[in-house]
């Protein structure tokens, strides 16, 4: 098969839909006013923003346009949801319940609060990364004001029982915040059905532009502004609006809704094909998170290939035109394995060999077949280079995925030779 370019990193970011970009263009050029202005240049923009808001309201079945706050991205939305809610409600209590596998924007916002008088309980997850609603219930104290979970995990694709958790928070009379970033655009979202008071996402994950984030926040969940200045966004988020991006987000949301069934069907099919193909062609490979099906978001696979490391796989895939992500420590700037992989207690050896492939609407069957053909060769090549593979074949170390009963564990081996444990 000829070399081709296959972008499999849609959970990191996506290109902008041409329709969205076309809708944005006038707002860079002739319709350039600020919506705070009272003249026609500003008023015309207001109208555009109102339409965009309506499209996003429709996408998540929000009660009203006033329940949306536009921010600069998913990260700021998560910060505002958590810190803004904590700030506005600290008199009610100082305890927050958070799952162990939230995105760093959620984790670090909660951590910030714990340095400022709050306490947090991390709810663990099971080996496929599911939060157990009973664990959430058990973690809630009479000081709890907020529960933070997510709809779909950004790393391993696990879908979470948010609606069940929503019943618990409703019963307890506390607020529920759901990070919908990895889910929005790839599954239906209905904030009322879910029973969340706060929900955030970032349109650049579903073919909208970067630089814009959404925080849904209904009347039951007051948030205190964290960016001070003018009275934009109803006084809850100061600063001149990123007008073109809001317009693009609206169009991306509208099309995501119309196109949802088709997109989901298409990427689900590719996901299954990729899964089947890779597992057929590669030995000692493990899926992290649930199998393709009702517990997994339709567009991502997270896998670990044993005896080799993630960055090398990523670079060789890239060399072959295939763009993927990895949660391995070598790939992260902090040299730490993704905390999600730690939370599902993935063996360090497997966490090291981590690769994340996330599919998009424009990926084709040919793309997937190219990956299925190319990736095994890369794995083979890296195993050839890896001292672990030979040591495994010789029985000095054992496989975690398919234990032979011979040899010591990789982790033990790594600890022995590096002096310090590899974990």
């Amino acid at each position: 098969m000829d070399k081709r370019f296959v972008y499999l990193d849609h959970q990191t970011t996506t290109p902008v839909l041409e329709e969205a970009l076309q809708a944005m263009l006038p707002y860079f050029r002739e319709v350039y006013g600020s919506p705070s202005s009272l003249h026609r240049y500003g008023l015309q923009v207001r109208e555009g923003l109102k339409e965009a808001r309506q499209k996003i309201v429709a996408m998540i079945n929000a009660e009203s346009e006033e329940d949306l706050i536009f921010t600069s991205g998913g990260t700021e939305s998560a910060n505002l949801a958590i810190k803004g809610f904590a700030d506005a409600n600290h008199r009610k209590g100082n305890h927050i319940v958070v799952s162990a596998i939230e995105h760093p924007s959620v984790m670090n916002s909660v951590e910030y609060l714990t340095k400022h008088g709050f306490e947090a309980t991390n709810v663990p997850v099971d080996p496929i990364g599911r939060i157990n609603p009973d664990d959430v219930r058990a973690a809630i104290t009479d000081k709890t004001i907020l529960v933070c979970v997510h709809l779909a995990n950004h790393d391993i694709g696990t879908l979470q029982p948010v609606k069940e958790i929503g019943k618990i928070t409703a019963e307890k009379g506390i607020a529920l915040y759901a990070d919908a970033l990895a889910a929005a655009g790839w599954m239906p979202i209905d904030v009322r059905d879910l029973g969340v008071q706060l929900l955030s996402f970032s349109p650049h994950h579903f073919y909208g532009p970067k630089g814009i984030g959404v925080l849904y926040r209904n009347r039951k969940a007051r948030v205190t502004s964290h960016i001070h200045g003018g009275v934009q966004e109803g006084g809850r988020r100061a600063g001149t609006e990123n007008v073109p991006a809001i317009i693009g987000a609206g169009v991306a949301a509208e099309i995501a809704v119309c196109d949802l069934a088709r997109r989901v069907e298409h990427v689900s099919m590719l996901q299954k094909r990729l899964y089947d193909g890779l597992w057929k062609n590669i030995e000692y490979i493990k899926l992290n998170g649930p199998p393709p099906g009702p517990l997994r978001i339709c567009n991502t696979l997270n896998l670990s290939t044993e005896f080799i490391e993630g960055e090398g796989q990523l670079l060789l895939l890239d060399h072959q035109g295939i763009a993927v992500a990895s949660g391995s420590s070598c790939v992260s700037k902090s040299l730490k394995v993704s905390h999600v992989l730690s939370a599902i207690q993935l063996d360090h050896a497997l966490a090291q060999g981590n690769i994340i492939m996330s599919l998009g609407k424009d990926n084709t069957v040919e793309d997937i077949d190219y990956v299925i053909e190319t990736f095994p060769r890369i794995v083979h090549r890296l195993r050839d280079m890896s001292p672990m593979w030979k040591e495994f074949e010789e029985g000095a170390i054992d496989s975690v995925i398919n234990p032979t009963g011979r040899g010591k564990s990789f982790t033990q081996h790594a600890a022995d030779i590096s002096g310090k444990p590899a974990h």
Binding site: E311, Q352, D362, M385, K390, I417, S418
Partner: protein
């Protein structure tokens, strides 16, 4: 719908590491083991979990040949490839004062966070020499 194939301009290659590092990663020199090595060093980096193994053929106090195997990122692989290239032909004494900086320089630089990969290569080499020397004078131990 625009085909994915046209999405990326082919005019320039964008790579994580510089050309030399990429070359040693994509075309590693001296990759493998010896049937019978005179000295073998295998070390691990606690920081990131990389593991590197260097095998030496020694003759007349000189490193006649060297091989590596690496479990690790692109710069770890390139570092071990470059290190084995550099040390071939050196005397053991010379090799004992081998420093990771030589690898970094020969590779034309590594990102700061990846310097430890070159340290791993230095350590693997020194472990291999120690192994060789230990084998040579088993009575001393």
């Amino acid at each position: 719908m625009v085909s994915q194939e046209t999405h990326m301009k082919e005019t320039k290659e964008y790579t994580l590491y510089n050309e030399t590092v990429m070359d040693h990663f994509l075309n590693p020199r001296n990759m493998g083991d010896f049937q019978e090595a005179d000295g073998v060093g295998e070390v691990g980096a606690a920081a990131c979990g990389d593991i590197m193994k260097i095998s030496l053929k020694i003759r007349d106090g000189k490193i006649e040949d060297a091989r590596f195997k690496t479990f690790g990122c692109g710069s770890a692989i390139a570092s071990s490839s470059m290190a084995t290239e550099l040390i071939k032909g050196r005397t053991l004494e010379e090799a004992k004062s081998f420093s990771n900086q030589e690898v970094v320089d020969a590779l034309g630089g590594l990102p700061p966070v990846k310097i430890h990969c070159s340290v791993l290569a230095e350590e693997a080499l020194k472990a291999a020499i120690e192994d060789y020397e230990a084998k040579q004078s088993p009575k001393v131990a």
